[in-house]
Every structure is written in C-alpha cells, then in structure tokens.
C-alpha cells in the first residue's frame, strides 16, 4: 500500500514529462517544416527591427509628431528608402515604429484576454452547472457580432485612442480562449487520471491547474500564435477607420488611411506600411500553421 502514496507525485511527473515530450517532438517536427521556419524568422526579424527601431533608423526623431515641410512627399531615395510623408517624416522610420505598435497591440490584447479567457474556461468547464451556463451564454453575446464590428461598437463609447482600441479588442478576445479551454476541460475532467487525483484527495485548485491546464497547453500556444496576426489585423482596421491610434501616432493602419488620400501619385505612403503589416501577419500565420501541425492540434483551433 505504501507505494500508492507516491502515485500523485509520479502521475504529476509523467504528465508534465508527457507535455514536455510532446513539445520536444513538436519542436523536432517544427524544425523540419520549412514554411513555418520562414514564418518564425519573419516574426523574429520584424520583432527585432521594431524593438531596436531607434537604433536601426537614422531618423529616430521622425516618429510621433514631426514636421519638416521642406522634405515632404519625397519619393524613395538613398536617404529615405521608403520616401517621406505629408509632413516630411521618413516613412521607413514610421513603419518600424508602427510595427512596434502592432506588436505591442498583440502582446497587450493577448496578455490580458488569454489568461482571463483560459481561467474562465477552466472554471466553467470544471464546475459545470449554472456557472458554466452563465459564462458560456456571456461568450455567446460577445460573439453575436463579428470581432471587428463588436470592437467598433465598444469603441463608440470612448474617445478614439490606441489604448481604448486595445481595451475593446481585449474585451472580446477572451471568449475564444474561454470556449476552447471549456471544451477541453469538459472532456478531460472525466478522464481517469483526474478521477484518480480526486480520489487521492487533490484540491480543486490542484486538479484544475496541475492536471487539466497542462493538457490545454498546445492548443493555447497554437491559438495565441494564430491570434497574434488576427489581433494586429483588427487593430489596423480600427486605426484605418479612425477609431484606433490617432495621428500623429505612427500606427500602420493610420498611415495607410492617410496615404490612401494621396494615391496613386504618392504610392510609397501606402505601399510600404501595407507591406509591413502584410508581412507581420503572414509571419504569424505561417508560424501558427506550422505549430499546429507540429503539436498535432486539430484544425479549427
């Protein structure tokens, strides 16, 4: 009988080891998938360029509010690779700082909404009953509109700014993670290893976070990666419509919406920010797609 006392310990170890093994195998498969490596490299490259933007560009002062009308509307040249905008600011600089905003947007939105959604998903799936019904109906309400339109409706209440846009997107995004984790939790909580923990007197807290949560890890990781691109897309949409970042902030969506007024003659004002946003989102999608295959997560996550 003595050996039985060691079971929870051992079981826990196996579980995390299993998760680690799966991640290890995933990493192996991921390395062999050239497309997702390209995606990862793109994300990394842009993240580094954005993070070190002040050191990469020769004109760090051209971000934010900057005016130099003498150099306005210059086409791409050796001095200004991407040309200059209506106020004479270097577009390459603004694209780099704009990418910074995009990454920050994704990080803040997912940083707020994922833990919140995962927690509610775990709790609702584990407790079940009325708590689950209420939480899941709440997600239904938030998902009654496409994400962008819901974010727009929430933005309506505020004076437009990038903070409010992030708040609006975060307040919707938790629902996806809540539903995902709720589904997994519901199917896992009846598994034998969870029952075993319960019989051995494990607390609810322990069961939820040590038994169930590790099993949600792979789908959550994949979803976060795929979400990052989507969140950036929604954020750019809000800014494009004038409900996100406000000029003179160097947001990519804002830059495109301003540049569009000068098409087709001053194409560089639109083309380069568009290209940057496309490559960032593409990078995240390729990466997420590769991760999904590597971690063997079902399609549709």
């Amino acid at each position: 009988m003595r050996s039985n006392e060691h079971v929870p310990m051992a079981a826990e170890e196996t579980r995390w080891t299993a998760t680690r093994d799966r991640l290890g195998r995933g990493w192996y498969k991921f390395r062999r998938n050239r497309i997702s490596l390209v995606g990862g490299a793109m994300v990394l490259l842009f993240a580094l360029l954005a993070a070190f933007a002040p050191f990469v560009t020769p004109y760090p002062k051209h971000a934010g509010a900057y005016t130099d009308f003498r150099h306005a509307f210059q086409p791409p040249s050796a001095a200004h690779w991407f040309g200059t905008d209506a106020l004479g600011a270097d577009i390459l600089t603004r694209v780099l700082f704009g990418s910074q905003i995009s990454f920050m947007l994704a990080a803040v939105v997912l940083g707020i909404s994922v833990p919140f959604g995962v927690f509610l998903g775990l709790v609702s799936g584990y407790i079940g009953g009325r708590t689950e019904t209420i939480i899941m109906r709440l997600t239904d309400i938030f998902l009654a509109l496409p994400a962008l339109i819901m974010a727009l409706a929430i933005c309506a209440a505020f004076t437009p700014s990038i903070d409010k846009a992030m708040l609006a997107v975060s307040s919707i995004w938790w629902t996806w993670h809540c539903r995902l984790v709720n589904g997994i939790t519901r199917s896992i909580k009846t598994e034998e290893f969870v029952q075993a923990s319960r019989v051995l007197g494990a607390s609810h807290f322990r069961i939820i976070f040590k038994d169930i949560l590790p099993n949600c890890a792979s789908p959550i990781i994949v979803k976060i990666t795929l979400d990052a691109g989507f969140v950036i897309l929604v954020g750019a949409g809000l800014s494009f419509l004038g409900l996100g970042a406000q000029p003179p902030a160097e947001d990519l969506g804002t830059m495109i919406s301003i540049g569009a007024k000068y098409l087709p003659e001053r194409w560089w004002m639109t083309v380069f920010p568009s290209l940057a946003i496309f490559l960032i989102i593409l990078g995240f999608n390729l990466l997420g797609d590769g991760l999904r295959d590597a971690l063997a997560v079902e399609e549709g996550v």
Partner: protein, 340 residues
C-alpha cells in the same frame, strides 16, 4: 416534429443572445463619459439647447427607464432618432442596408465561384503547382488587410488600367432606376434599364472582390482538404475502376459530399465578409450600412450605433441558423446530431 423543436430552441437562443447584445451595447453607450447631445450640437450650442436635446432624446431619465423605452421602441420598429440625420434610425437603416447586403451577396458569389473550383483544382493536382498556388492565395487572403486589397484593386483597375470606376454605386451621370428593393441590380432589371445595370455591375466588382478575398482562400483550402479526404473513399476507387472520366468523378461524385465542410463554415465566411465590408466600404465610398455605422460611431450617435449593431447581429445570427439548416439538409447526419 423533432426538427421543429430544434428550430424552436435555436430561435429562443437567438432571441436571448440578441437581448443580451442589446443590454451590453446599451450599457456601454450610456454609462461611459462623453455627452452625445453636446457632440451632436457642436461646441457653440447653448446649455439650454443641449438640455433640450437631452430631454427630447429621453436622456435625462434613469437608465432602466431609458432601456425600457428603447426596447418598447424596437418592438414597434422604432429605433429612435439619429443625431446625424435627425430622422428615425429605422429609416436610415432601410436606406443604407440594401447597398451592403448587395455587396456581401456578391462577395459570397465570388467566394463560391472562385473558391470552390480552386479547391477542386488544388485537390486534383495535390502537392503540385496548382495546390501550392491555392495555398499561397489562402495565406495572402488572410494576411492582407481587406482595405489594402481594396486599395490595390483601385490602383490597378481604376488608376492604371482605367477600366473600372473608383468609388460609389453608380456614375453621377447614370439615371438612377426607381427604388423597389434598394438593390440597384434588381431595381435596374425591373426598370429594364440596362445601362444602369451595367454601370452598377461595374461598380460592385472591385469592392465585392476585396471583401471576398479572405473567404476565397479559406473555402478553397477547405474544399481541397475535404476533396482529398473523399478521394480516398472506396466508391471513388470503384468509379475509377469503371472508367468514369476524372472530371465527372471530381464534380459529380466527389464535390457533393466534399462540399459539406465548406458549407458549414459559410457562416464564418459571412462574418468575415461583414467585417470586411466595414473596411472596404470606406475605401470605395460605398453608401452602405457599414459606412453609416462608422459615421455614427465617430459622432457618438448612439441610437444609430444600436440600430446598426442589432441589425447586423440579427443578420449574423439568422445566417448561421440558415447555414445550419442547409448543412442539415445536405447531410442528414448533421441533422440527427443537432436534434440529439
């Protein structure tokens, strides 16, 4: 009988969701700072004028009472006054909605006539260049913001080649056909006005394609996936053995069962198209409900925002219901699962 109870339950669920949505948006719009009456009248209006408008709009009453008035209005089809147009929001919606519906329907046509054949094509030449091409289209379709697609199309077809108009639904010179349905294409058909019809079609091509871009790639990928699943079935092998031509097998025996997964995500496609419409209408100055909604949001025209949100929510929920029913019709197995 069982199917009708399934419908009833879905219908009730729909009502609960829309009800919750209205409370959510109502709370957000009424409890947060900022005075819409002041915003509507501008900075030069006197205090009394602002107070008067607040009174006419019923904004000086308590919140539950305001919500009750609002709800009672909705039941009568009265969405309240719009600050910007100074008329009933229901009238505004009736004016702007058909343009967007027309646009989104065309986008769905694009998705079906381009996405499905592309998927079949990719499955037929799996892991060869057509398959890779479709893969690229799918990735690009999801990664390029729809407003950028719109701008690129404008740049190419309107500025460079100059074959298609830049903005709007009709040329200023084209006589507008009398309004019956609000759908220009149908209205001009009814009027037998073929110059207006041609003009309307020319105008709708680019914006609807920009909206459809995301969906085309997704549907193509999904069709490709389920086509290659079906391809490994025994009965396909048997048909090959009988010497039935590949084309017939692909379009007759494989497409119907393979079309079920794409059909079930058509609801999602519709959602992404509605979102895209909000971005693309701005690019093409399309006089639809999305543009109206955005103007309302920027001007804090809350009755209008509520109206737009509820109408879109209703459309979204109803389309999902229709998709479910359609999928159940095509694939009886889904019907059984849903009924249980």
């Amino acid at each position: 009988m069982r199917f009708s109870s399934f419908l009833l339950r879905r219908g009730l669920h729909t009502i609960v969701v829309l009800f919750g949505l209205s409370i959510l948006i109502f709370l957000i719009s009424r409890t947060l700072p900022g005075d819409p009456a002041r915003l509507a009248l501008g900075p030069f209006a006197s205090k009394e004028q602002v107070q008067n408008l607040r009174h006419t709009m019923g904004m000086d009453k308590s919140l539950p009472l305001q919500y009750w008035t609002f709800l009672a209005g909705i039941v009568r089809g009265d969405f309240g006054l719009s600050f910007q147009t100074r008329r009933n929001v229901a009238l505004d919606i009736a004016q702007f909605l058909p343009a967007t519906v027309e646009l989104v329907l065309w986008a769905i046509v694009w998705v079906v006539i381009l996405g499905v054949p592309l998927g079949v094509f990719a499955a037929r030449y799996k892991d060869r260049w057509p398959d890779n091409l479709v893969r690229v289209i799918a990735f690009v379709g999801v990664a390029v913001p729809p407003f950028v697609v719109g701008l690129i199309l404008q740049l190419t077809f309107s500025y460079l080649i100059g074959v298609l108009p830049i903005t709007g639904r009709l040329n200023l010179m084209t006589p507008v056909p009398r309004t019956h349905t609000g759908f220009l294409i149908i209205d001009s058909l009814i009027a037998g006005n073929f110059s207006a019809l041609g003009d309307a079609l020319k105008h709708i091509l680019l914006p609807s394609f920009a909206i459809a871009m995301t969906g085309i790639g997704q549907i193509a990928r999904l069709t490709r996936g389920s086509m290659s699943d079906v391809a490994s079935q025994d009965y396909i092998e048997a048909s090959r053995g009988f010497g039935i031509p590949n084309r017939v097998i692909a379009f007759k025996y494989m497409l119907k069962p393979a079309f079920i997964p794409p059909l079930t995500i058509l609801g999602l496609t519709f959602a992404s198209e509605l979102s895209n419409a909000f971005l693309v209408e701005t690019v093409f100055s399309w006089p639809g409900i999305a543009g109206y909604g955005i103007r309302s949001i920027l001007r804090k025209d809350f009755n209008a925002v509520m109206g737009v949100v509820l109408v879109i929510g209703l459309a979204f929920v109803v389309v999902n219901l229709i998709v479910d029913i359609l999928a159940g019709y095509v694939d009886p197995r889904i019907r059984v699962r849903k009924e249980e």
